[in-house]
């Protein structure tokens, strides 16, 4: 009945889609819908296209499931079992299956897109090529990725790195409050995974309870209701499902504390709620009474952090051995690893670390003991040779030269003074000799003696404006890529090569009209003296066309 060679995971009848009644099939990679009495699949959606699913509210009369796609479109299925509860059950079944399936595909799609994005952003030249060729629709995106970019795509991406747990994942589960007193938490697959990773005890409970004793949602409801989730775990009722977990966590923390005891980098044992108030942290406010709630929440935070760190530990354990060897160098790289180290080794490392940190944070001249002893006073710069300090950076003139000059100057001053006196009475009408003025004009005009270092304006006119040069560079790059593929097709001995040749030729034609023509037009309009600039590009294209047409002519006769 179905044309797909896929497993049907779920089959639900009595479903309406766009006024037509039929059966909904949930399969491995897609969801399909077949109209009643029809043999063919009328609707089929790949999971990779689906962004999310939505269900109708429980109070609505219609029991519906809506799929939202990445391109913004939606598709609605209406479950029309006469019995409403049955319809609901059908719907929920579909929903649950999809709930498990979708994340896998979503990740796949996202990963692919992300990967491509990353490649493009890491290779600006490839990005430019992408812009020039794909966005202008000279070639299609698939062609681009398969033919032009393969050397950029990493060959085998098999070292699957598992994502770490973000420390704030609990905070990110934001409750939605809907009017009346209820609070709604939206959990997704990833968050659940995070919780499991961080709190193994909860996972244990989940395994224990979920399929058998309560449903998934009931379990999580309990979880959130429980004080376990709430920040201050003071009053845990004995009947609480998670009280055991809490106890387990407590034990874990204690264990951690023991191993970390002599590590100066983390101080878990001192639980002080110190805020930097008066005294700016210099004086400890001893009057403060320790607050049980505060204490417990700090403890809780520490424990949470430890748990989060521990999740990343598992992966690194296999590489532990070689790291042990060169610990002094590597030690600060991975703080999470420290718990596993044997105790004896640990001590030396920690001491080393301590000393290193002390080295970094302590300054001899800021040492409080030394500061306390001497009174704080602003120290003045005491110079014993003020003159030297102020003057010495200037070149000294030879003293004999200096005295000679002074002698001349002193002898001249009468004469100059008379000259200036005469000058003050006279009147000039010609302050500069015209011929000298012309000479200076020549020197200062671009091209003249004094303007040598300057870029000649007439030359700079021949230089390309930066934006044109950039554009030209891109054109060369894009066309070069296309031509490389074009010429690589010769001689076209196989049908695939022939096919590729035709496609590349079309791409060249498109490139010519979409990119090169507008460029030529702009250049002609704005920089008319540069009109020859694209001639080489055109020449390259034309030789490709000639080659293609000659091949085309010769090929024609024999297939037909």
């Amino acid at each position: 009945m179905t044309t797909f060679s896929e497993d049907v995971l779920l089959q639900v009848g009595n479903v309406k889609h766009k006024k037509g009644e039929g059966t909904l099939y949930v399969m491995n990679e897609r969801i399909a819908f077949i109209l009643q009495g029809s043999e063919t699949v009328s609707v089929s959606h790949l999971y990779t296209d689906i962004k999310m699913q939505k269900i109708s509210s429980e109070f609505k009369t219609k029991v519906q499931l809506q799929l939202v796609f990445h391109n913004g479109e939606t598709s609605t299925f209406h479950f029309i079992k006469p019995d409403r509860s049955e319809a609901m059950r059908d719907r929920d079944k579909v929903k649950d299956v999809l709930f498990k399936l979708l994340p896998k595909f979503q990740k796949k799609v996202n990963k692919e897109l992300e990967e491509k994005n990353r490649i493009l952003s890491e290779n600006p030249s490839l990005l430019q090529l992408y812009r020039d060729l794909v966005i202008t629709q000279v070639i299609t995106a698939e062609e681009f990725w398969s033919q032009h970019a393969p050397k950029y795509v990493p060959r085998n991406v098999n070292n699957n790195q598992s994502t770490g747990v973000p420390a704030n994942f609990l905070v990110n589960i934001k409750p939605q409050i809907d009017g009346c007193n209820s609070v709604k938490y939206n959990l997704n697959y990833e968050t659940i995974n995070c919780i499991f990773k961080t709190y193994p005890a909860v996972r244990k409970k989940h395994l224990e309870y979920v399929p058998s004793k309560m449903t998934e949602s009931e379990f999580w409801k309990k979880f959130f209701e429980s004080h376990y989730f709430h920040k201050d775990r003071i009053n845990l009722g004995a009947n609480d499902l998670f009280s055991e977990c809490a106890k387990y966590d407590e034990q874990e923390l204690k264990k951690e504390l023991r191993t970390l005891d002599n590590n100066s980098l983390v101080n878990l044992s001192s639980i002080d709620d110190v805020d930097i108030g008066e005294g700016y942290g210099l004086f400890e406010d001893s009057s403060k009474t320790t607050n049980l709630i505060h204490e417990s929440i700090i403890k809780r935070f520490n424990q949470h952090s430890i748990s989060v760190l521990k999740t990343s530990k598992a992966h690194s354990s296999n590489s532990e051995m070689n790291i042990n060897k060169n610990i002094p160098n590597n030690i600060e790289k991975d703080t999470a690893r420290k718990h596993d180290l044997p105790n004896g080794n640990c001590d030396t490392i920690i001491n080393y670390k301590k000393s290193k940190i002390m080295d970094k944070i302590n300054y001899e001249d800021l040492n409080p003991s030394t500061i306390d002893n001497c009174e704080i006073e602003s120290s003045n710069l005491k110079l014993n040779k003020v003159e030297q300090f102020a003057n010495e950076l200037t070149k000294c003139t030879r003293s004999d030269n200096k005295s000679l000059k002074l002698k001349i100057a002193n002898s001249m001053k009468e004469q100059i003074s008379n000259e200036v006196l005469k000058w003050s009475k006279e009147h000039t009408t010609c302050p500069i000799n015209p011929s000298v003025a012309v000479q200076a004009l020549g020197e200062l005009t671009p091209g003249g003696k004094l303007m040598k270092g300057l870029l000649d304006d007439s030359q700079s006119g021949l230089l390309l404006p930066p934006e044109v040069s950039k554009e030209l560079q891109n054109l060369y790059m894009a066309l070069g890529e296309l031509l490389r593929h074009f010429w690589a097709c010769f001689p076209p001995t196989t049908p695939t090569l022939e096919d590729k040749l035709i496609r590349t030729h079309d791409a060249l034609r498109r490139f010519h009209s979409v990119k090169l023509k507008p460029f030529e037009d702009t250049v002609l309009r704005e920089h008319s003296h540069l009109n020859q600039i694209s001639s080489h590009l055109t020449l390259m294209l034309n030789s490709a066309y000639t080659k293609y047409s000659s091949w085309h002519c010769r090929r024609k006769p024999y297939p037909s």
Binding site: T429, P434, V438, P446, D457
Partner: protein, 467 residues
């Protein structure tokens, strides 16, 4: 087939003319070259003309002023980096228009610029000295009662406001001579009412809102256009005006050596407050700031003549800190005045008050310009935009409200004998792009006035061909 007989101008240009105040450059361009040549004989006019040039042009002149030979055009063009070629072109045009330099070529056909020798000689005189002295600078004894700058400012303002006062509508002809009134009438700022008394015109209203320097310059320009009818020498008067412009405030000058015509001119200037003279025959005069700032243009005037007094708030309230009736009246042109106190008047800008002003021919530009010009120093010191932008925008919006009609002059063609004729002519006009309006049913169409002749000719040819 009848002629499309009735033609009438269907729409008038009802738009109000805005008062255009030429700057010195534009004024000089209108003068004949002989007048220009005569003007360049006076160093002071050379200087005045020089100051009006664009900055680039000024530097061109400075660079070649001490050079005795013509300079190749390419050389001068290379002085400015290529990115500013437009400014170079403008500078070259201005210099050519004002006949400061002229194009010629040396042997070898190299095009060169040659500085006007008269101009060159005399601007060098202005800068360096030599030549004849000014006709108002002959030596004289020190004034026994010298006038200080504050006094001169007060005097100038009082005289000038007298003129404005007269315009605003105090009908008594007090303190203003018949000559001045004639000048106002000539300038079109006022017109004679039926009973012979002068009333202010639309242009007059606009005039009132200009800044003082521009007012003086506009007024003087109008005066100069009548000066030759009065038997005075235009170039002499201009030269004298320029000398006043470059004179020093607070210094007294001698009337000795001035001819009768100039003395009359001086008396006119005295009346408007451009110069101060204790007595008509005192033999000495003091130029005032009005004369110094004349035509200097807004951003060039050295020191503004008066303090701003208007504070305007975003709630459309206007506070005018002044006790002058004239200033209150000016603000009242476009404001709804609410309170009047000894030193401050409070008003509010409303749609009605602005529309009243707009109806009397004042433009929004002028209102905004007026407010900006007279803004209180407190408002200026606040920030870059002196007036609250919302107020400015609103005033412009109120103005645009009135411009819902576009007027264009045209000629109406009607009473076509046949639909065919009508369509032929209409299509012809449409192809030319001169069709303003048409109605097929009534067989009427309007074409632009300028193309009337073309359409008419076409029609003649068409009807002749048909008949």
């Amino acid at each position: 087939m009848s002629e499309s007989s009735s033609k009438k101008s269907s729409k008038h240009d009802l738009k109000s003319k805005t008062l255009h105040c030429k700057n010195l450059h534009e004024y000089l361009k209108t003068l004949s070259s002989s007048v220009l040549d005569r003007l360049y004989i006076h160093p002071i006019t050379c200087l005045a003309v020089y100051r009006e040039l664009s900055e680039i042009a000024k530097h061109y002149i400075i660079r070649i002023i001490f050079v005795e030979q013509p300079v190749p055009q390419a050389v001068i063009a290379s002085w400015l980096s290529k990115a500013y070629a437009k400014e170079h072109k403008e500078a070259v045009e201005a210099l050519t228009e004002l006949k400061i330099w002229k194009e010629s070529s040396v042997t070898g056909g190299l095009p060169v610029w040659e500085l006007n020798p008269v101009f060159k000689k005399h601007i060098r005189v202005a800068l360096l000295g030599g030549g004849k002295n000014w006709f108002m600078s002959s030596h004289m004894e020190a004034d026994t009662k010298p006038r200080d700058i504050a006094f001169l400012d007060a005097y100038a303002m009082e005289r000038w406001e007298c003129v404005l006062h007269y315009m605003v509508g105090s009908h008594q002809q007090e303190g203003i001579s018949a000559d001045a009134v004639r000048n106002l009438l000539h300038a079109g700022l006022m017109r004679c009412d039926n009973d012979g008394s002068a009333i202010i015109t639309k242009e007059g209203f606009q005039f009132l809102l200009m800044d003082t320097a521009a007012q003086v310059w506009y007024f003087i320009l109008q005066y100069l256009s009548t000066v030759e009818d009065k038997g005075l020498d235009l170039s002499l008067c201009l030269t004298f005006l320029f000398q006043l412009r470059f004179s020093i405030l607070g210094k007294d000058y001698s009337t000795e050596g001035m001819n009768d015509g100039l003395l009359i001119f001086l008396q006119h200037l005295r009346e408007f407050g451009l110069v101060y003279q204790r007595k008509r025959k005192a033999g000495r005069f003091y130029p005032t700031r009005l004369a110094l700032n004349m035509a200097a243009g807004q951003n060039q005037s050295d020191v503004s003549i008066r303090e701003g007094y208007i504070i305007i708030e975003t709630n459309y309230r206007i506070y005018a800190y002044t006790d002058s009736n004239l200033k209150v009246a000016l603000v009242g042109l476009f404001t709804n005045l609410i309170y009047r106190f000894p030193n401050v008047t409070v008003g509010v800008l409303t749609r009605d008050s602005i529309r009243t002003a707009l109806r009397s021919g004042i433009t929004a530009d002028q209102i905004v310009g007026f407010l900006r010009m007279h803004a209180h120093p407190k408002m200026i010191s606040v920030g870059s935009s002196i007036l609250p932008p919302t107020i400015v925008d609103q005033i412009y919006l109120w103005e645009q409200e009135r411009n819902r009609f576009n007027f264009s002059e045209g000629v109406l063609y009607s009473q076509f004998m046949s639909q065919n004729d009508f369509e032929t002519l209409r299509d012809y006009a449409q192809d030319l792009g001169v069709l303003v309006w048409q109605n097929e049913r009534k067989r009427t169409m309007v074409v632009t006035k300028s193309s009337h002749d073309d359409v008419k000719k076409f029609w003649k040819r068409h009807s002749r061909g048909n008949s």
